[in-house]
Amino acid sequence: MIHTTSLGAGIHFAYLVSSVLFILGIKGLSSPRTARSGNRLAAIGMLLAIVATLLDRQILSYTWIVAGIVVGSAIGAVAARTVTMTAMPQMVALFNGSGGGAAALVSSLEYRHLIQAGALPLDSGISILLGALIGAISFSGSIVAFGKLQGLLPEKAVTYPLQQVVNGLLAAAILVLAWMVLNGSGGNHAFIAFLAGSLLLGVLAVIPIGGGDMPVVISLLNSFTGLATAATGFALHNVVLIISGTLVGASGTLLTVLMCKAMNRPITNVLFGAFGAAPSATTSRAGGGAAAVAGKPVRDVSVEDAATILAYARKVIIIPGYGLAVAQAQHALREVADLLKARGVEVVYAIHPVAGRMPGHMNVLLAEANVPYEELKDLDAVNPEFESADVALVVGANDVVNPAARHDSQSPIYGMPILDADKSKHILVLKRSMKPGFAGIDNELFYDPKTMMLFGDAKDSIAKLAQTVKAL
């Protein structure tokens, strides 16, 4: 008896150490120097919590547990090693969905356990329902987000009549079912219907959100899974689940708020605005701005001219967008930057907070191409520098340099902080075609007299630029 109690105390102590390691780990992520060791600290904390749990005396058989851990670890390891950096957002979405799904299943089993034990206390009941609801939404929502980012589902916002009403009715039905589960009148069927309704709500909530807003959605769903984990912690009275889940819930919420601020749109607009629903509709909504510039000529430029302008500049600011990553041209771009630097040109990269498909995505993509992180500058740091720049080199970016965000109150992106590319002496835009960007809005920067357009595949154009600069 004494032995079991001391073992129990040992497990609790291990959970405390794990929680501290998680906190220190996240703290480590606050600087590129300590980030890697921070992540390792958190991983050690996780290992400790898992090993300690295996010693729990409630566990009757280990075969299934060990088998499950082996299978899951193998899947996770293979996925983590093979994913390309461009596909990182959908990978994170999938891992996040796994966690959410696990939380929903754990809640369901705990519900069944308590019902069989004879009673569902109110506090445990509420925790279980929250864990199941949030976990299930996170699971199905993450899978839809994955499908959109991977191109398996339509990337545009999917809308249909009475969408909000349908979602509202579904949410109300879920509430009624929750009440039936809590007062015991519904039985198991009510719980299963509750779970199914939650899964459906996850799908319906993410379907109307356009691909461009997926970073916000993933960030929000990340915090959801954290909260679902915390809720299962409440149901199981397990401290380490509560602490870790809440840490993630708080961080995910904060990141979501930061991203919405970077786009100057309230979270409700991101979630319910169906941004980028139909390209024709948004273009017409862009109104005056788009109409005024339509039909204006754009200035085409040859590779030779573009290379000359870059090579004889004093300062070049590179604005990379997701198009760069799609073309897998980060390495080639870094080569051009190196060639320019060798000629004495000052080169920096301007990274918009929503460049890429998740917060900070572009930084990862450029880091993969060996761009030192000191050259990556964020919006506030780089914007004052455009006035003194000779060339702003826009590669695969569109909406984040659209001046309409500054002055056209009719534009859907009005108010979004943008990179002031138009303030530099020359603007060189590498673009596949005149197709509008992710948000489906025409970009008046392309019609600016200072702007030169170099059309073609980004990787191709950049490789040619490199050759030509080398030959100069």
Partner: protein, 99 residues
């Protein structure tokens, strides 16, 4: 039972403040690794999955618990590994890249 839940609630509220404090200091350039790193941390739900699977007494409960453990393990192992892969790429100006 209720005291137990109030204890849990205390920890929950304090953890919100800790979470907010440590995360507001993370620079933008590390937001993706932060997201995938915290994503790995909520994989701690694996511990809950292990506990319920360990107490499962029917085949159905075992299958559901097994699925929960698999999903949790995917989240933990995948999350930490992919974060490590990203972070090893972040480097300062290094010799070979210098012109």
């Amino acid at each position: 039972m209720i005291e137990h839940s109030l204890n849990d609630l205390t920890i929950f509220v304090l953890a919100i403040f800790v979470g907010y404090e440590i995360i507001s200091k993370v620079p933008v350039i590390l937001h993706t690794p932060l997201m995938s790193g915290t994503n790995a941390i909520h994989g701690i739900v694996l511990v809950g999955a292990m506990l319920v699977l360990g107490g499962a007494d029917t085949t159905l409960a075992r299958v559901v618990g097994f699925c929960a453990v698999v999903l949790g393990a995917v989240n933990v192992v995948g999350g930490f590994m992919v974060t490590d892969r990203m972070l090893q790429m972040f480097r300062k100006k290094s010799g070979p890249n210098e012109p």
